[in-house]
């Protein structure tokens, strides 16, 4: 694997860790805990099976995020049974901003002392 950074001088030593596949190996167990912790239930067996599939995909996604963002902790959250599109549609809601030319700009503040 490769690691890219804007600060290559920081990468004198690359962290090497074993692949932690525990989450994926025990996905169904973690899904049961997830449902219990966040009070999730699904109306039909088909919906349950679909959400389990989404959950597994999100475990793989969390692992990718962990590699891309090693100083944070990524894993199972209350949104782990949502596809990225469902997550965006349901929980995000910032419209596109084009700041007008006549927008009132905050004055520049002194930052010494």
């Amino acid at each position: 694997s490769t690691v890219s950074s804007n600060e290559p001088e920081d990468l004198l030593i690359r962290q090497v860790v074993a692949h932690d596949d525990d989450l994926l190996m025990n996905a169904e167990h973690h899904f049961t805990n997830f449902k219990s912790k966040f009070g999730k239930s699904y109306a039909t067996r088909e919906e349950h099976a679909y959400r389990l599939g989404v959950f597994k995909a999100n475990l793989r996604r969390a692992r990718r995020h962990q590699k891309l963002d090693p100083s944070a902790v990524h894993g199972i959250t209350q949104f782990s049974d949502l596809t990225p599109a469902e997550f965006r549609r349901t929980y995000l809601g910032l419209k596109r901003l084009r700041i007008p030319a006549d927008a009132h700009k905050a004055p520049i503040l002194p930052t010494n002392d």
Binding site: V3, S4, S5, N6, E7, D10, L11, L12, I13, R14, Q15, F38, N58, R61, A62, H65, L68, D69, P70, S71, A72, V73, H74, G75, T77, Q78, F79, S80, L82, P84, F87, R88, R89, T90, Y91, L92, G93, L94, K95, R96, L97, R98, I99, P100, A103, H104, K105, A106, I108, L109, P110, T111
Partner: protein, 233 residues
């Protein structure tokens, strides 16, 4: 500028709220900034109504006529400040509580306004200016790309790659000088972000994201608001 600063330590930030299954993040970012500004103006911390914005604010971006504040379908903090300025102010949370839906009619009662906007501005994209405006004017309404927030549990988020396309409205409440960053072998400064997905998400409802780079666009849409002292009639 202080090396570390957190408006929670100064009593300017209300408890973490939960927007539920509704794309109303923009309204929580707006109320958070005005709650802080109102605290600075009056010395009192009052939780403000997001539902008023969800139900009553349909302000449009003057440069993009189709881009209007529209309840659970999204909005903009600067448009919401404009609405609040025009309408006179916001009611408090307990007088107009949050329902998480946008099917209701507007129940705004002008006699129950508790916080009013004096003016609002967009902040320079320079990180020191963002910090200075935060310290001087209170918590800031900011946009962010939330792709890493779906799986975030804790720590300082500092992704190697993150789009600058903004899709989530949050509240910048402080910054720290030394976040743990093992792979970079040194401590990194970070912003402290109040989110609106409840206390069980992230670090008790908060998100830390590193400073110093264009990470997830957090420094690209920043607005500050000032409040005037308002007494309910």
């Amino acid at each position: 500028l202080p090396t570390d600063f957190d408006w929670r330590d100064h009593g300017a930030v209300t408890a973490v709220k939960n927007q539920g299954s509704c794309g109303s993040c923009w309204s929580f970012s707006t109320t958070g900034a005005l709650e802080g500004a109102n605290f600075l103006a009056t010395g009192k911390l009052v939780s403000l109504s997001e539902q008023q914005l969800v139900d009553c604010d349909h302000e449009c971006d003057p440069d993009e006529p189709g881009s209007c504040d529209s309840g659970c379908n999204g909005g903009l903090m600067t448009s919401a400040f404009e609405y609040t300025l025009k309408t006179g102010g916001l009611m408090q949370e307990e007088d107009y509580p949050y329902t998480g839906t946008d099917h209701g009619t507007c129940k705004f009662d002008k006699s129950k306004i508790v916080a009013s906007v004096a003016n609002f501005s967009v902040v320079s994209l320079d990180e020191d200016q963002i910090a200075a405006n935060l310290v001087k004017n209170g918590p800031l309404a900011v946009g962010i790309n939330a792709v890493f927030m779906q799986t975030y549990i804790g720590g300082v988020s500092c992704p190697y790659i993150c789009s600058r396309r903004l899709n989530h409205g949050v509240l910048l409440v402080g910054y720290g000088s030394e976040g743990y960053s093992p792979i970079r072998m040194k401590d990194k400064p970070y912003w402290i972000i109040k989110n609106s997905w409840g206390e069980s998400w992230g670090e008790n409802g908060y998100y830390k994201i590193c400073r110093g780079r264009d990470v997830c666009g957090v420094d690209s849409m920043v607005s500050t608001v000032a409040a005037i002292h308002t007494t309910p009639k």
